[in-house]
Symmetry: C2
Subunit: 180 residues, 2 copies
DNA sequence: TTGTTTACGTCAGCCATGTTGACATTTATG
DNA sequence: CATAAATGTCAACATGGCTGACGTAAACAA
């Protein structure tokens, strides 16, 4: 293909095989990453869309509907369907913004928070296992590459090193183990 | 939140933050990773499901329907819909297996191969950019972590170190499929 | 104050893609 | 020869994207 005719690329050893493996790593990892929560959600008659709303609401309590739409990159009509269900069933509550009373700030209820913990516990455990097995240095590489894949600086900002002194993390073998 | 009032949880807080960032890296990376191909596919009235079939058929020419189902982890009825369209429109062709004539081995047509190149070019470029920006060592870490996230050894095998291998490897599932 | 824009909600319908269940055909295999 | 396997197909249903149109309340600018 084109790569073969482009000597510049070859210098970087970014061979087609390597790049395709990257593509497939994303596919398989994401496929498996979402499988467990899906099973839990089914018990509540919820789907992946509900999970995302619950997750990001738990992550950033007080977030506006518009901000959530910006993260999910779906239409308000799509969001409305799942958000409406979560509100009606008491997993999420809205509060009118005090600074701007047009805004509806989103919060998990206690019930919602419990489901959130249950769902993300599975995913955190999976990530923890992978991090532990790979080692701290690999985790740093993982972060770098993933940040490179994310398209918008606006989205990357969310990952700005809060771990500024982060190196004290999970080494292979031990781990803190207490986190569910 | 409760964390703030709980002294001695600092290590755990960092760890939870780190794990959640991992969750979000997967979400954002996958979201952006699929966005560009989706736009191209729309022109053909195809969706992400078509892309997956085209991609994996191109990756492993001669693969059986059953093997593809195993990779995608969807039902044969779901696959049948998109595969049928791709066959009818001449993007994919099937050949009866020579070893086992019940099997239908999948191949891209030239038309299909061209679409495949167009689609994966976007994704390969994205991965290439990320790899280049992160550096070789980071890529190694990325691979390690991603492999840890993938659940089944069976799937991980596909990534067995072809590290020093020559370019242009094809991994025909098994059958030579010389039958017409 | 008034007019416009913004943030959010909602109704209605369409489409893609996943699911289950039932059944048919061809071929391999014990 | 009987059974199992690989594949295909029909039908019905659910989820969660989408567009388009329209409504309300609040903020903001002229």
């Amino acid at each position: 293909m084109a790569d073969v005719n482009n000597p510049g690329l070859n210098l970087l050893f970014l061979r087609d095989e390597e790049l395709r493996q990257g593509i497939e790593l994303l596919f398989f990892a994401y496929r498996d990453f979402t499988a467990e929560p899906d099973a839990i959600l089914a018990k509540y008659d919820f789907g992946r869309a509900h999970h995302r709303v619950i997750y990001f609401t738990g992550r950033s309590p007080g977030m506006t509907v518009g901000e959530l739409l910006g993260i999910l990159r779906i239409t308000k009509q799509s969001l409305s369907r799942v958000l409406g269900q979560l509100l009606k069933q008491g997993f999420i509550q809205q509060k009118t913004g005090s600074r701007d009373r047009r805004q509806r700030l989103l919060y998990l209820t206690e019930k919602g928070a419990e489901l959130e913990r249950q769902l993300s516990a599975e995913q955190r455990a999976r990530i923890a296992r992978a991090y532990r097995a790979a080692g701290a240095q690999a985790v740093e590489g993982f972060r770098k590459v993933m940040l490179g894949i994310i398209g918008r600086e606006e989205d990357r900002r969310r990952f700005a090193s809060k771990a500024g002194a982060a190196p004290g993390i999970a080494k292979p073998g031990q781990g803190t183990g207490t986190q569910g």
